[in-house]
């Protein structure tokens, strides 16, 4: 009896399994790697090696774009792996989606011969061709002379409309500036002095919790909040991993400059005074964000994108905006007279990665046409603003705007998944719309930007005679054609001595910089750090970056001729 039951169970199991696997195989052969006609609409697949939001299959704007362009793309994002791991498995398996964005794994894809060279096609697609200047296209050529990917971001049409300083800065709460009567703060000493004075006068929040004068995020790769300030303090633009002197075109290590020592000495003194948060070096990113969200932290160095989203929401919700807990950037340098270059305007193309078409794509022309179509103004508006009269309104002058209800709605996760379709990892313009009236991105539309700004920030910006965040730190031109060199450093691996050094430098700094800041005797701590730092042979790293700087300069000169 029982045995019969068991057999029956097994049979049932087998039947279920075979049906499941059967239908799965059917489905897989249908949806995979094939730009098939499905009611006249082509379907492409796209793997993006960064985490991202999936949208619903029946997404409304996606459908609308499909009607215009005749194609739609199913995007898959990175989950639970690093970009290089994910790309490595794809290469090993030898099967690719139609589109791919390899992120940090881009060069692996190129080396594996997985990508289609795009240079012969580009001329046929005006929107793609115009997306970059000739010089920029040249800079995208790989060692074999071909172009394999199209970087998607940092491309302004018309004039730049940037309103936020999206990058790194010394940030300070507006309440501190207001308390001091909006003074001019341009040096590191002034900055810390101001924080000290404010803290002495106002040690607590109105509700009694203690202020945290200055905190430092130091969690894993986010330790840039501690380590790379010397670069900016000396008035250089953000080349990331090292300084490239615009005069001599030479690569300089910012870890050992006199400014670096002065800066860390300052932090050491402030740590002893109790100004630097004692939990700085053990806090995790979540805890850091939690601290900022309580409005207790007066100032810190960070990149805007690293904190603004969640922190500003939290401040708003708790009514802390009225207390002046929002942050504005300051143009801090090491001493008076040094020009601050925290913000560089103009488009910096990340040549290290972009969207590619793989050799498994059956319809390269169709794929490129889709990218081309996505860059038409009509579709750009759909991607960035949404549907007219639903996601934005147009006033009598033709200016786009959003009502408070719409603003609320477009941040709703469910609404985004079912309605909005930004195709965010396809090439996209920021800057001005072709109508020469509106910004391509809602958050850069001047009236949209202003109405989203908290009162205390508006007041502060006004006091400094600034129209937006960028005016606070000042605009600067891109220092040179190599900029930013971190797009090269990101591709270095342990295969070269320089790449190995690069990881070692990071490891040493992560351990010793906190120690230096907390050292009872700074000089001794610094000496020990420098001794260990030299053992990783930083020169090997610099020696590999220099040729790339030279190469990029040469390339741009050639293209200019």
């Amino acid at each position: 009896m029982k045995r019969k039951q068991f057999t029956a169970l097994l049979l049932v199991g087998a039947v279920i399994m075979s049906t499941l696997s059967g239908c799965s195989m059917g489905a897989s052969s249908k949806g995979k790697n094939a730009a098939k006609n499905d009611g006249g609409i082509k379907e492409f697949t796209y793997f993006v090696a960064v985490p991202g939001n999936e949208i619903n299959d029946d997404n409304e704007i996606q459908q609308k774009i499909a009607e215009i362009t005749g194609a739609k793309v199913k995007e898959t994002w990175l989950t639970g792996q690093t970009a290089k791991e994910a790309v490595g498995t794809l290469i090993a398996g030898g099967e690719y989606p139609d589109f791919i964005c390899g992120s940090e794994g881009s060069s692996q894809l190129y080396e594996a011969g997985a990508l289609v060279a795009l240079d012969d096609y580009i001329d046929k697609y005006p929107n793609i061709k115009n997306f970059f200047t000739k010089t920029e296209w040249e800079s995208l050529r790989q060692a074999d002379g071909h172009i394999y990917w199209i970087p998607q971001f940092n491309n302004s049409y018309g004039k730049e409309m940037e309103t936020t300083h999206n990058d790194e800065a010394f940030w300070i709460q507006t309440r501190v500036l207001k308390w001091a009567g909006y003074p001019k703060v341009t040096t590191m000493d002034q900055y810390f002095d101001l924080i000290e004075r404010y803290q002495e006068a106002n040690p607590t929040m109105p509700n009694g919790t203690k202020n945290i004068p200055y905190t430092i995020l130091c969690d894993d790769w986010r330790y840039f909040c501690l380590e790379n300030a010397p670069l900016f303090l000396d008035g250089y633009a953000n080349d990331g991993s090292c300084i490239v002197d615009p005069e001599t075109k030479k690569v300089i290590d910012y870890n050992t400059t006199p400014t670096a020592k002065v800066y860390f000495n300052k932090l050491n003194q402030e740590f002893k005074k109790g100004i630097v948060d004692p939990e700085s070096f053990t806090q995790k990113y979540d805890e850091y964000i939690a601290k900022l969200s309580t409005g207790r932290v007066l100032g810190m160095i960070d990149q805007w994108w690293d904190f603004y989203n969640t922190v500003n929401d939290a401040l708003k919700q708790q009514g802390l905006e009225d207390l002046g807990c929002n942050y504005v950037p300051l143009p801090i340098t090491i001493k008076e007279g040094v020009q601050s270059r925290w913000h560089t305007s103009g488009d910096t193309v990340n040549v290290g990665s972009g969207i590619s078409i793989t050799k498994d794509c059956k319809d390269v022309e169709g794929a490129l046409k889709f990218i081309n179509d996505l860059l038409s103004q009509e579709v750009i508006n759909l991607r960035n603003w949404g549907i007219k009269d639903v996601d934005y309104m147009v006033d009598k002058d033709g200016l786009f705007y959003r009502t408070p209800e719409i603003r609320m709605q477009v941040t709703n996760t469910g609404y985004k998944a079912s309605h909005m379709c930004t195709y965010s990892y396809f090439p996209i313009y920021s800057g001005m719309s072709q109508d020469n009236l509106n910004a391509n991105k809602p958050e850069q539309q001047p009236n949209e930007f202003l109405s989203s700004l908290p009162k205390n920030v508006q007041e502060c910006l006004e006091a400094y005679n600034s129209k937006n965040y960028i005016d606070m730190v000042g605009r600067n031109e891109i220092p040179g054609p190599w900029y930013p060199i971190y797009t090269f450093v990101g591709t270095m691996t342990t295969a070269t001595p320089g790449g190995t050094t690069w990881i070692k430098m990071r490891e040493i700094k992560q351990e010793y910089l906190p120690k230096v800041v907390m050292a009872p005797d700074f000089e001794e701590g610094w000496k020990e750090y420098m001794k260990v730092y030299e053992t990783c042979n930083p020169k090997a790293f610099l020696d590999e970056v220099q040729p790339e700087v030279d190469r990029r300069i040469e390339l741009s000169e050639k293209a200019a001729q």
Binding site: A112, F281, K284, D286, E287, T494, I503, P514
Partner: protein
């Protein structure tokens, strides 16, 4: 010799299956001896012999992570083991059946929390203003708040505690299953003979679950080099990285995230070999002691 046929036939199926799914992929170990490039595949990548192993063993950093891994592996093995056995026995001694059920159900719940949640709570509890510092200050055991995560000396202990906290109830399930399998007649007989609770635990319960204990101990001994990666990564920071990094973190940093699969594979091969050696030794010791063994 008789009565082998059926068993042999069945074994054959298992051997074929095991060969395909467990042993065939070991061809991938070839990667450890070459400079593997995805574009060249296994068979066309450059063969470099022991180069990757040399690279590992001349690096002070690797020797340090071996030390950390071994230390944390052994500490975790011992404490989680003892905790689970003690908990299982004590739970079994609980008189109320309802109480037993409730306690057991609750005890294994933390197993389902991801490490990121557990470490988040732990970070909270041990922070300068967390409950631990609060208590220590209140009882005057400390003069000022102690930042536990800034001192390398506390790190291994914290990791061990985290493991016990999360997995004790779950690990105890196996022992509970073994305890219920003990013939209840034995307990009754012992009770009639006037054996107290302690004597019953010592002479009936413990011997009854001994085979299970030994098998699990042997198996886990082979796992000391798999001290983990997530906990250490989530609890660690720059200040304690000299004691927090494990082999897995090292491999991730220097191998996988650099696209250097060969290095990762070499470390994996090293771990496997050490594990198997440990298992062979431990099994041999068990054999000599006349205890249960793995094979």
């Amino acid at each position: 010799m008789k009565r082998q046929k059926v068993l042999l036939l069945w074994s054959l199926v298992y051997v074929i299956y095991g060969f395909i799914f467990c042993y065939l992929p070991l061809a991938g170990w070839l990667m450890a001896f070459e400079n593997y490039k995805p574009k060249d595949g296994f068979f066309h990548s450059q063969f470099i012999g022991l180069g990757k192993f040399k690279q590992l063993f001349v690096d002070d950093g690797f020797l340090r992570v071996i030390r950390n891994t071994l230390a944390m592996g052994v500490i975790n093995l011992v404490v989680t083991f003892v905790a689970a056995i003690v908990f299982a026995i004590l739970l079994n001694e609980l008189k109320s059946q309802g109480g037993k059920k409730v306690v057991q159900t609750i005890s294994y719940l933390p197993h389902f929390l991801s490490w990121i949640i557990v470490t988040g709570i732990l970070h909270d509890a041990l922070s300068g203003t967390g409950i631990v510092n609060d208590l220590l200050l209140r009882f005057h055991l400390l003069k000022e708040p102690l930042n536990f995560f800034a001192h390398p000396k506390y790190f291994w202990g914290i990791v061990a505690f985290a493991n016990v906290w999360k997995e004790t109830g779950w690990n105890a399930i196996i022992y509970l299953a073994a305890i219920v399998a003990i013939d209840t007649n034995l307990y009754e007989a012992a009770a009639i003979d006037g054996a107290g609770r302690w004597a019953r635990i010592r002479y009936i319960t413990l011997p009854g679950i001994k085979p299970t204990i030994i098998i699990l101990l042997l198996m886990n001994a082979g796992n000391v080099l798999n001290a983990g990666f997530e906990v250490q990564y989530l609890l660690g920071n720059g200040l304690v990285q000299s004691v927090s990094q494990t082999i897995d973190i090292y491999v991730l940093k220097w191998g996988i995230s650099q696209g250097d699969y060969s290095l990762g594979t070499a470390a994996g091969v090293f771990k496997s070999v050490v594990s198997i050696v440990i298992i062979l030794i431990a099994n041999g010791m068990a054999k000599r002691a006349g205890e249960e063994r793995l094979f």
